[in-house]
Symmetry: C5
């Protein structure tokens, strides 16, 4: 554990994708180890050096854990997720963290630009140096959280566009888009909800490793993740509303067409019957020489559709 008041920044990259940095200063100086897809040997060495619990190491080795905090006394074991959106799918990258009083170990399988941004912010501001590894972890979580807002803004824009389409010029593609947006939001909510719970736990007084000063930052993060969660829920409600509307606008339009087509059919059926009557071969009895009948019959062929249309219109049938 270093005691130098000015932190010595020395990167000792002992493997591809591994960083080893001394950060912070004074009583709050700490060592930061960052592993990108570590191999078994590295994990074993790490476990030995910091006396890490086998339970936590098991979790590091397996994937698809839920965001969570486990308290091992000398350190906290924390799992959080960073989300990226590829087309309509939400991909979550797992970040495993050991947060001790004088060390911070971060393990992940994909490069995380959020971590690099957090390092820069931490090193840029001398006041931040006095806050320990718990604050540095906050910066990482802050970057991860902030990355969610543009994602949500984009989804919001897509929902707005979809809502407008719904009432104006919806096509079956509109519906496929709603379906995919809902899929995206369901996935997103699954990752955000436990993240929020983790921040709430870190914001409380439960863990002595997290400083009361820093807890305030986690509280702010918790508020922002709650906001995100509510935005997701609101977005789902809006999409549900849009879908309902789309379906009934569609069904309405179809019904109008079918009604119009049926009315055309209905108009021609009596006409066909009349001329069919005129085509019968009972020539002996039929008044085929009656010109009045002939003219009247032809007139009725013109009048019947008019009468029917007026009748239908009056009954509000189209």
């Amino acid at each position: 554990m270093l005691d130098s008041s000015i932190p010595t920044k020395q990167i000792t990259s002992n493997a591809v994708g591994t960083r080893n940095l001394d950060l912070g200063r004074g009583r709050k100086a700490f060592q930061w180890l960052d592993y990108l897809s570590p191999d078994e040997a590295q994990l074993d060495a790490l476990q030995q050096k910091y006396d890490l619990h086998p339970l936590a190491m098991d979790d590091v080795r397996t994937y698809d854990e839920r965001a969570k905090v486990l308290d091992f006394g000398a350190y906290l074991f924390i799992t959080i997720h960073s989300l990226t959106r590829q087309a309509q799918d939400i991909i979550d990258h797992e970040l495993e963290v050991f947060l001790g009083r004088a060390f911070l170990i971060t393990i992940h399988d994909e490069p995380m630009p959020e971590i690099d941004r957090a390092v820069k912010r931490f090193q840029a501001d001398p006041h931040r140096q006095d806050l320990g590894p718990d604050y540095f972890l906050y910066l990482i979580a802050d970057e991860i959280t902030n990355a969610l807002f543009p994602m949500l803004d984009q989804i919001d824009d897509e929902i707005d566009a979809t809502e407008e389409e719904t009432l104006a010029r919806a096509t079956p593609k509109t519906q496929a888009r709603i379906f995919k947006l809902k899929h995206t939001l369901i996935q997103m909510r699954r990752s955000v909800a436990p993240m929020r719970d983790v921040m709430n736990a870190l914001a409380g007084t439960r863990y002595s490793i997290v400083d009361a000063k820093t807890a305030l930052y986690y509280r702010d993060l918790y508020d922002r993740l709650s906001r995100i969660y509510e935005l997701i829920e609101t977005a789902r409600d809006l999409l549900g509303n849009a879908l309902e509307t789309y379906l009934s606008v569609q069904s309405n339009r179809l019904n109008q067409v079918m009604k119009a087509l049926t009315i055309i059919s209905v108009i021609f059926l009596p006409l066909s019957f009349i001329v069919g009557w005129g085509g019968m071969n009972f020539v002996r009895f039929m008044p085929l020489d009656n010109e009045l009948l002939y003219v009247g019959l032809n007139l009725s062929l013109l009048l019947i559709p008019v009468v029917m249309l007026i009748f239908f219109k009056n009954r509000d049938w189209f």
Copy 2:
């Protein structure tokens, strides 16, 4: 901190849209600073003067925060929202507040008539002068909350109108209106729920800055916001009910029309068949000289529709 028993009201507007007022009297006198769209320089000066936490200042600079309370010991940092309705959209304006024992700082990006009304109420009543900045903030929150009731009343009237239309003379426009009202309520709920939580927090004994006497006022505000939240939920249920009814009334009407049209078709098809038979050219075998047949056939053309209609009526088909 002033100690004069009669507050000296002196407006020192050092910038466009900025107010600086000494309010209250006695032990409860306090300074009120109101910033409308402050620039960076103003915010920096403010932060320096009152030693405000950078975390809170970050929140002031970003928009779209959730209504919340953060306790920084010497002061509370509070975000609340005032809502206005433009057509069917709920616009929320953010108000950021620093509530200290002897100061109140309010920061907002749009002019807020609620604040002006609160100032007038505070200054009008001498008894209110003895209650500090926490009470003054209550007055602002009270004005913001009261502005929600006419909004809800208007929405309620629109729902009533929609419900009546639904059963009587619904058109596709009715449905678009339901859709937009639901959209409005979803947005409104998103803003009201965290506001209510903020008032509940301020009504408790958690924050020493809020006086026990004033907490009672926040409790009342919490009750009113709970009422509003319930009214929103009830309104949504009523709209859902109206929508369901609209859809099935519509579908019912359409079905009546389609059934009527289909019955007309069905009646003319056998008639067309009969006269078609009479038009066949098997003149050698067909009893075309049989007057009885001719008359019977013509009679059947009159009777068949009658029989069919009676049959359909009996089976309750229309």
Copy 3:
């Protein structure tokens, strides 16, 4: 404050609709003031006499408050609602109460028969005299709660009638009735839920003004209001179930009719085609002299419908 063991019942009606009664006896004697639509002067006098908090007086002056309890130390300010049903609408009348140790003030805008019944019950039983104003308020709340059961029974009967209709002889009116019943239940739930919370608060040990003995009565009231709330929820579920069933029974019936009509159409179309063929004027080539053909053709006109019906029946098409 009276100390006489036998309460002196003297009504001093100083205004229309105002009652002033000394009730109870011994240590529990109290003054009851009942105001029906009091004017400003009365309210001001009242506030002065009992030193009532301006916040509570504001709530008395405004309407449409949520059922609630506010503790002002020397007294509780309580808002409860009595419900009546007019046709399908639930009307709620607000009752505002100040409950002190030796006084009970009730303020309402409509005559409330529940209060009159409560007075009678209180005065009829000498044992009840020993219980103070908190018990008298319980009697009023008890009467208000009991008035809900016949209302719910009536709604229950209507639901039962609706459910039976749904499966047997549903008409579009059935659906309008379901719609209105759901509307009624949504309104009712909105009023009952906060009432229940008020009784729960009064049943606890939070408020010293409510005696432990009387709290038991409020607990019983809370249980009854919980029961009512559950009955409302159950009623809504049953209505939802009935509506779903109604809609699909209706759609089923319509589908049967449409299928039958379509089958009639389908049967006549080939027949029309055959006689149409017989009507062609290619007299030179057509075997119009072939009696066998003529007979066969006529037979086919009889057989084709039979064959088609058997085919449709076999495929379970009707």
Copy 4:
């Protein structure tokens, strides 16, 4: 209070349907009074003898109370319900209980075989004699709870049968059955939920009358009632799932039929048109002597349906 180590079982039936039994032994001996539809005189005598609270007696006199526990210090007043299923309706019988340290009073309006079974179990096992009236009440509640399982099993079998029918050979009766099962489950849930809460209350340490040893039994009962509640919810979900499936299987089948019928119509319409053309009387211009035309025309009458069917099949229209 008896002190004999061997309980003296002596039934003193002083009225029809009333039992009076000395049960248990040693310090845990108690008197059990069982009333079947007691009259006013009996209730008054009971109230006097055991000094029962008028509030509880009021509840005994009224029906349709919610399952609940009220603590009157010297005794608990408990309401529980036994459920029986008649066809599709759940009938609940109310059992009112006064549980004291040395007495147990049970009041009900219908004969309850569960109570008789509980008496037998209690008397059969000498070890049970050492557990007091709270344990005896547990036995009654246990019998009531156990009676729910066969009911649920039966409902489960009916749901299984319904689910199978849904995918295979659903008729409108299937849907009526789903409707009635949902009705049954809604009623059942309404009664089970407060029962579970009562058992949870008795399993806790809140009531000193319930022994810590016996509380364990109530805890077990609570677990079983929670299980029942979850089974009811699962059953409702499965029914909802089955209903959705039924509706769309039905709609699918109908659509297949309507499509097939429509295709038949569509095939005959062009044929009718062709033979109609052949029937026109423009004999001077029509090539009625052209045998090729006649043969071609007749061939087309055979080919057109084939071509149309191939076209429809290719576009996947049936």
Copy 5:
């Protein structure tokens, strides 16, 4: 109870399917008894030897208990379930456990490979020997929980396949598959929810038999079961989304077909009318010698469909 530091592993199988093993070492040594479908005699002997509570033994004898923990002081009685999936049905096997300080009794009716794997893991690692029976039980629960993930992965793959089908080439089988997957998930959730609650209870400080060290393992298990629960809920939401989409894609496709078929009908009806007119026998008045009329009439037979199709297309009817 053994005190040897190296556990003596000696299997004493006194009956088919019964194991008796001494496990662990030092202060944490314990005896493990595993019963596969024990008979009454075995259960009685067991009850006598360990002085087990009759309530727990009753639960062992009955089936279909909910996952739960009952604290009997000297030992915990725990019920958990292992799930297997057969086709679309979730079968749950009950495992009843008595967890004492120096013994662990497991009773089940089916062979459980999870237990065998847990024994192997326990015996393989010497460090694990120092953790007592509570840790051994954790290993069993861990194996049971881990077996859920491949099941969920498989379900997830099936949902993905279903979602893709839904938008591309859905058939009625797609819907039957959705129905069955929902059925599976409803069953699974019913078993997982109480399992999660059991792990939460064991992870707390409520039960002194579970070591604080081991509680951490149960906490991890609780997190994993929460994850599973959320995955189930997410899967249900995705399926609901897929079903909605499937239904409306289907309805859309059907509507396209019906519209096309209707348009064909509508086009031929006026044509049939025209040729029907030409077939009338009013030869005296009809201009049958007018070649222009004949040609025009035939041309109209060609033009009318074209005009109609253009008209329909313009109005966006297909």
